[in-house]
């Protein structure tokens, strides 16, 4: 087995596609850094001047009619039937920040996750309709829209997809060229042959995904660092980033093995990739149609493993007091642990099915 594994690893890295995949993950890193360039840059002098000019205009208007605006605001607030409502009438004076373009950072400012009640209130939801953990996931650096870390989390999917395609191609290239038949005349123990290929597909892509992950994080960090907009990057947050990188490598490795297994089952790269895409799409459709099934959506679960959890929205309907069905939006959470177990189970099941198929199938 070890000998076969070594040979398969040699074959993997002798393939031109593997080197193209390496170029691909590096290209993903460069493109992500390029897209981050625009937002990482602090406001230019011209933007600052324009913002100050607008601020001065608004401030002048405020000095003329600010008292009237506050009075009108308070009048409306008092007229509101909700006694707890806050129109923010005391914070109406214009501030320079309002006119500056938003400034994303590599890591967003560390914020304490709000308590569930506040979180639900901010979203106009009943606290009973929000899963515990949603606030923490929402406050995570991987969810903060525009932050460097959120860009990394989005581009990580491309790294995973490249590893999957590499795994598929690693097996289907052998089947379509007919070389598998010759291989089996040298090593007829199908079980060993299959596992050597599957493990090689996973283990062989580790250097590629490690390099891709380091490049992805490194280039995006470099862009923000160049503009001095790294943000609150403490050692604890570096630890979180390293953890993300580790999970990305694990997920890419699992997907490469799943790809190899699907390649063994379907024998053609287009078929294996197409089936996986259709299953993901159909899975989303089916789980979208049945609220309870959304927790098993493959895309949601794989995202949950990578990003420390995932939130999905669904409707819950129940007959109201008047007998009319009343529907409300609720937020549900897929935990990182569930995402990890899902990935593990998916990998094991697909590999076992492929092993049985590979062992029993006639090779033509």
């Amino acid at each position: 087995m070890n000998r076969l594994l070594r040979v398969e690893l040699r074959r993997l890295w002798a393939r031109r596609l593997t080197w193209w995949a390496l170029v691909g993950v590096l290209a993903v890193a460069v493109m992500t850094a390029f897209s981050a360039y625009g937002s990482a840059r602090p406001p230019t002098e011209a933007q600052l001047a324009e913002a100050k000019q607008m601020y001065q205009q608004e401030l002048a208007a405020w000095e003329e009619s600010g008292d009237e605006q506050v009075a009108e605001c308070k009048e409306s607030e008092e007229a509101d039937p909700d006694p707890a409502v806050d129109y923010g009438c005391d914070d109406m004076e214009p501030q320079l920040d309002w006119f500056l373009p938003p400034q994303p950072y590599f890591v967003p400012p560390a914020v304490e996750a709000t308590d569930l009640d506040t979180y639900a209130e901010e979203r106009g939801l009943d606290p009973d309709d929000v899963d515990a953990g949603a606030a923490a996931i929402s406050a995570s650096m991987w969810s903060d829209w525009g932050a460097g870390t959120q860009r990394i989390a989005t581009s990580a999917l491309a790294v995973v997809a490249i590893a999957f395609v590499l795994g598929v191609s690693f097996v289907t290239a052998e089947t379509s060229s007919g070389a598998l038949g010759l291989w089996l005349t040298f090593e007829p123990r199908r079980r060993r042959v299959f596992w050597s290929k599957a493990v090689a597909a996973g283990a062989g892509t580790v250097p590629l995904t490690v390099l891709g992950t380091v490049a992805l994080i490194g280039t995006v960090y470099a862009v923000y660092a160049a503009f001095g907009t790294v943000g609150d990057l403490t050692s604890a947050r570096w630890g979180e980033i390293a953890g993300f990188g580790g999970r990305l490598v694990v997920e890419a490795t699992a997907l490469a093995m799943i790809g190899a297994a699907l390649g063994a089952i379907f024998r053609h790269a287009a078929a294996a990739i197409g089936v996986a895409a259709v299953l993901a799409w159909v899975g989303s459709l089916v789980t979208g149609a049945f609220d309870v099934a959304q927790a098993w959506n493959p895309v949601v679960n794989l995202g949950a493993w990578l990003n420390g959890g995932a939130i999905y929205n669904t409707q819950q309907c129940a007959p109201g007091e008047s007998g009319i069905v009343d529907c409300v939006w609720v937020e549900k959470v897929v935990s990182q642990a569930q995402g990890g177990l899902y990935l593990l189970a998916l990998t094991v099941v697909v590999l076992l099915v492929a092993a049985v198929v590979f062992r029993r199938r006639d090779v033509s």
């Binding site: 000998r3 076969l4 070594r6 040979v7 040699r10 074959r11 002798a14 393939r15 031109r16 290239a173 052998e174 060229s177 007919g178 070389a179 038949g181 010759l182 291989w183 089996l184 005349t185 040298f186 090593e187 007829p188 123990r189 029993r360 006639d362 090779v363 033509s364």
Partner: protein, 328 residues
């Protein structure tokens, strides 16, 4: 099959059967095949296209699972004990199949590593088949003949005792065919057993010591080539040449003697002549002198066609036919 009783067999199958399912139903690839290949020499495995040769070879190599029957290689039951004997078997099934983007050397070194063969063996077998100059070129740039030679090199990596070649000369030019033929003969002369399947019978006739003929998945004849030809043929025909101006009179003389005569280009073929001297005498008595006179020998092709002519569609032999066996 008493011809190999008591002798060591390289390959033996008993009642081997394989059917394929498709949307059009079930088709029989091999139907109860009993095959015996003695150790040593070249054994021709003959049959028309679709007769089950490749399927049989695939079953022997564990690539296809038989529905029924048993097969052994050097006494080891396959596919169950194939790992124990695979090191003694080199095989090319149909056209050579390697990784097209890899060089010949890389393709062979992967195979060599898989079986733990020393790296030096790769260069040795590449040299043996005359591909040293192209060893670093990509396989996809190879001509068909070079691909075939590389496939032979791959089989030699193991230094096998049994070599299985499935239609090895398909698509090759005459020089390539001769080269492959000489290679196979040379391997047999080194004491190895060579099983070569082909539907080109004349080609196998040149190199095979023994043959098995299959049709529609069944064995219809087996034995030594010379015996098979001798057993199946006594044509009683002669081909003769006379001067062009004597062709008409010669035809007339022979027909008068009660023989059947037909023209073949500038020669005459006389059927029903049990003794060529009878033909010579009849013509000589009428002053027609024969330039060339040769009894027509049956070849493997005519034997094969004779044996398989009665095969009916559907994978069954017609009633009353029996497998021809010849002492080897």
């Amino acid at each position: 099959m008493s011809e190999t009783a008591g002798t060591e067999l390289a390959i033996e199958t008993r009642g081997l059967r394989k059917t394929y399912r498709s949307v059009r139903g079930r088709s029989v690839g091999v139907e109860g095949l009993d095959l015996r290949v003695p150790v040593g020499g070249v054994h021709g495995f003959l049959g028309p296209n679709g007769s089950g040769k490749t399927t049989t070879i695939r079953m022997l190599l564990g690539l296809v699972r038989p529905d029924r029957g048993t097969a052994t290689i050097f006494g080891h039951e396959v596919p169950k004990q194939l790992p124990e004997v695979v090191g003694r078997v080199g095989a090319i099934v149909e056209s050579p199949k390697f990784f097209p983007a890899f060089s010949a050397r890389r393709n062979l070194s992967l195979l060599a590593d898989a079986i733990g063969a020393p790296r030096g063996r790769v260069d040795a077998v590449i040299d043996e088949v005359g591909l040293t100059g192209r060893a670093r070129d990509r396989y996809r740039t190879y001509s068909l003949g070079m691909k075939q030679r590389l496939a032979i090199a791959a089989t030699l990596l193991k230094d096998p005792d049994l070599l299985i070649f499935d239609e090895p000369t398909n698509g090759l030019d005459p020089a390539g065919i001769r080269e492959i033929r000489q290679t196979m003969r040379g391997l047999a002369d080194q004491g190895k057993t060579v099983l070569v399947s082909s539907h080109i019978l004349a080609e196998v006739e040149h190199i095979a010591d023994t043959v098995s003929i299959v049709a529609r998945g069944r064995l219809v004849a087996s034995g030594r080539v010379a015996d098979l030809i001798g057993a199946g043929t006594s044509t009683g025909s002669v081909r003769l040449r006379v001067s062009p101006q004597d062709l008409t009179i010669a035809t007339s003389v022979l027909e008068t003697s009660g023989l059947l005569v037909r023209r073949e280009h500038d020669a005459l073929v006389v059927d029903g002549a049990s003794d060529p001297a009878q033909v010579n005498r009849a013509l000589g008595e009428r002053g027609v002198w024969v330039h060339e006179l040769a009894p027509l020998q049956a070849d493997l092709e005519s034997v094969f066609l004779g044996l398989t002519a009665h095969e009916t569609p559907g994978g069954h032999t017609s009633a009353g036919r029996a497998t021809t066996e010849v002492d080897a």
